[in-house]
């Protein structure tokens, strides 16, 4: 009944458009704050160069911001177009943070971004500064709400299944709001955004210094980027670690997969720096371990074991058995809502209903599943181990590199020796790394959640719309075509304006390009 090709292409489309959207988001989050910092310095010191800096970096920010908004609408609408059953099943919970995001955050940044660009001559210095900070506040609040939504997908608290409406409904909104997973993700993600913003400015400033132009502006920009970047890089690593700890409490399979750990390790577990996971043979070969590290990250202790994939799968088989009970009771309740026995069974096992739904891949009826089918369904809960293993390690390597890079920048700046060419080259060439790290982080979080779209509640394949395969092929082709063309234009303009530099912006009389 479910067309698995439609599921695959819909997932590919969502993944591509999300990764594309996420090219613009971290930079918006980070740069908005840095613009606020630069303009604050301008208002406090009254030195015109800080105003020029705000305007110049603001131009690049604007090109990026517009794309972020446009590609964001695609994300919001795609839940409905391609994931209709998901929207039906969790809209009651998931839709709320999305709507509040619009009310609280998007309106703020969308309304004031216009004044940021067009209000320099129409506002007092203090008023304009407030406008800039409101844009930054809006960008950062939007991250908060989307991560409350995403945190709920990873750790669905404060909601329960209602058999009368066949969907999840909010029971405790405070729990959804103060979901610990969402909070950790929020700080981790905005910190990643700050790193992106800092490295963007650091890298382009390094380019100017290498060319020996706009030296005053570039040096000051570098100083701001170095300090802010170092704080953010430390925060992104520490809060990433907090995410890891929480994941072990709520998504143990994700941690085991990231680690490529098939067998449960005696406490305290070691951490594999390198290894080659083999999904079919259920082993990870050629591992190089740091002793104790995983135990500390995942359990904050030296005596709690971290469960391996094989044991987790065995536990899942038991969950599926309970899920079958829940599904059977639900079937009876659909025809006879008054059946007291079934109601009691469903209430007892409703937390496992999602595990029953995993069997829909093998049998429409669910309750007639054979032991082999249950075993297959349990093994379906193992995500793509190699992808997670390597994505995670590359992301973490980037994180430690950022700390080293910004630390060096801070030291060189404070000694007035930022003009070291070797460093400028490293800073310039590091330009793409924050995006790489951010995209990999998204992969770890979302691929690591598979096969669930809502962890433990709704398998991804059930969330899909009843669209035809040709519809989805057409739309993915449309997105790829348009997004690729726009990416070319975007990069072309960015490079052009970086080359033109700040002197162009100060020229109000117009200049032939």
């Amino acid at each position: 009944m479910i067309n698995f090709d439609v599921v695959q292409i819909s997932r590919a489309q969502f993944g591509l458009t999300a990764l594309y959207h996420f090219l613009f988001v971290p930079l918006t989050i980070g740069m908005s704050i840095m613009l606020g910092i630069m303009e604050t310095i301008y208002v406090m010191t009254d030195k015109k160069i800080w105003r020029d800096m705000t305007k110049f970096w603001g131009t690049l920010f604007g090109i990026n911001f517009a794309m972020g908004v446009a590609t964001g609408i695609t994300m919001e609408f795609q839940f409905g177009t391609n994931w209709a059953y998901y929207s039906h099943y969790v809209g009651d919970v998931f839709g709320v943070p999305l709507a509040i995001e619009g009310l609280m955050a998007f309106f703020l940044e969308g309304t004031f971004i216009g004044l940021f660009f067009f209000g320099w001559d129409k506002l007092s210095k203090a008023q304009h500064l407030i406008v800039t900070w409101l844009v930054a506040l809006g960008s950062n609040l939007s991250a908060l709400w989307i991560l409350i939504a995403n945190g709920w997908m990873q750790h669905p608290v404060g909601a329960a299944f209602n058999f009368q409406t066949m969907r999840m409904e909010v029971t405790d909104f405070a729990a959804v709001l103060f979901n610990p997973v969402a909070q950790a993700k929020f700080v981790h993600t905005v910190s990643a955004g700050y790193v992106t913003g800092s490295l963007f400015i650091l890298s382009i400033s390094a380019f100017y210094l290498l060319r020996n132009r706009n030296v005053e502006l570039a040096k000051r920009s570098m100083a701001v980027a170095a300090a802010f970047g170092l704080a953010s890089a430390l925060s992104v690593v520490v809060l990433g670690d907090e995410s890891g700890y929480l994941a072990n409490s709520h998504q143990r399979m994700k941690i085991a997969a990231i680690e490529g750990m098939w067998e449960t390790e005696p406490a305290p577990a070691g951490f594999n720096i390198i290894g080659f996971p083999d999904q079919n043979a259920h082993v990870t070969r050629g591992t190089l371990k740091i002793p104790y590290a995983l135990g500390l990250i995942a359990t904050r202790s030296l005596n709690t074991p971290v469960l391996g994939i094989n044991d987790l799968v065995k536990l899942t088989e038991a969950d599926i058995a309970k899920g079958i009970q829940a599904y059977g009771a639900l079937q009876i309740l659909t025809t006879n809502p008054k059946d007291a026995d079934s109601l009691a069974t469903l209430n007892q096992y409703s937390g496992y209903l999602g595990y029953g739904l995993l069997l829909k891949r093998y049998t429409e009826k669910v309750t007639d599943a054979t032991p082999e089918q249950i075993q297959s369904a349990a093994w379906d809960t193992v995500p793509k181990v190699s992808l997670l293993f390597w994505s995670f390690r590359m992301m973490v390597a980037c994180g430690f590199f950022f700390i080293a890079l910004f630390l060096t920048a801070v030291v060189l700046t404070s000694r007035q020796r930022i003009n070291q060419r070797w460093f400028l080259w490293i800073a310039f060439l590091s330009f793409p790394l924050p995006w790489l790290a951010a995209e990999l982080g998204w992969v770890v979080a979302e691929v690591g959640r598979q096969p669930w779209v809502i962890e433990g509640m709704l398998p991804t394949f059930l969330g899909v719309s009843s669209t035809s395969l040709s519809d989805v092929y057409t739309s993915i082709a449309g997105f790829i075509l348009l997004y690729s063309s726009l990416a070319v234009v975007e990069v072309f303009l960015m490079v052009k304006y970086i080359r033109l530099g700040p002197e162009y912006m100060q020229n109000t009389q117009g200049m032939k390009l």
Partner: protein, 382 residues
Amino acid sequence: MNLPIDYVTLRVIWWVLLGLLLIGFAVMDGFDLGIGILLHRVARTNEERRVVLNTVGPVWEGNQIWLVLGGGAIFAAWPEIYAVSFSGFYFAILLVLLALILRPVGFKYRSKIDNTMWRSVWDFCLFVSGFVPALVFGIAVGNVLEGVPFHYDETLRSFYSGTFWGLLNPFAILCGLVSVAMLAMHGAAFLTIKTTDIIQQRARTYVRLFACITIVLFSVAGAWVAMRLAGYVSTDTLVLDAPSNPLHKTVVLQVGAWLLNYSRYPLTMAAPLCGYLGAIFTILLAGLRLPKLTWLMSAISIAGIITTVGISMFPFILPSSTDPNSSLLVWDASSSHLTLLIMLIATMIFLPLIIVYTSWVYYVLRGKVTSSYINQNQNSLY
């Protein structure tokens, strides 16, 4: 659970808010779209086009959030409507998305390079990004009035059995044209406020032209609904506060059913009346050269037309043509009681705030956009 507002009242409030958000989108983002539609008509030279684009340059991003909020609010308050309509109108939504993406890049990139070819390509993109969403949203509303071919299975998975080409039937296209005409009227009305001289004169002509077209097309659509179109009626006594499940009722089709509310509650006639009077006053006030009042009247006309659609269908929101019993009603397609309450509280806190700061932004940006302003800020403006 004991909540301070009962479920039925909350459902009605959220039906009203759904209408308000759609009106907010049409009124606030509508003039941006309208200006896109009219770009080539009201502005011929590059300088004129820059004047026109910069009238909305600082505000279009904020205005577009009405669409984002509309999407989010439907998702949260009417998840069944969101799921069925967005997946059913798959290509229509795709067209809107692709067209809307051209807008930010059109605005941002157009004037960054001084090349005639480059600029005319982006001007065309801006036209498309105004015209296509206006037309498609109208066509979607037309299809909703006719009923949409969808049904459910017992797990409440929805299936859409229509095609994209099926959306393009005569009545729906008529509704699409009403939408294009009223937004073009609204965009032109905004231009009469923000521009001077030749552009203002052209805009004034287009305000009156499109207000006339709006009146004519709205009347034709009304007559069609009264005489030809089958509306939907629920034949059971509905339980208004039951859990949202659209499978527990009987619905029949009946020509003229979409007019029943007007005879039952004559006060509701105010909605179509606003649609007409707003447009008529738009014509008169444009002639009297009172641009701000012209824009206000045009906004009232749009609000009246959208409200007319809502009231005609109440309590239906999304009727099903192939399985009328699966139609989505105010009483069986909403979120849970608690979610509607949370959403109402959030809206009551933030919507007034949004209105206050948006008004302040428009106040700061008051005044005309002229060619000398463009020439003084060649490099920083759109």
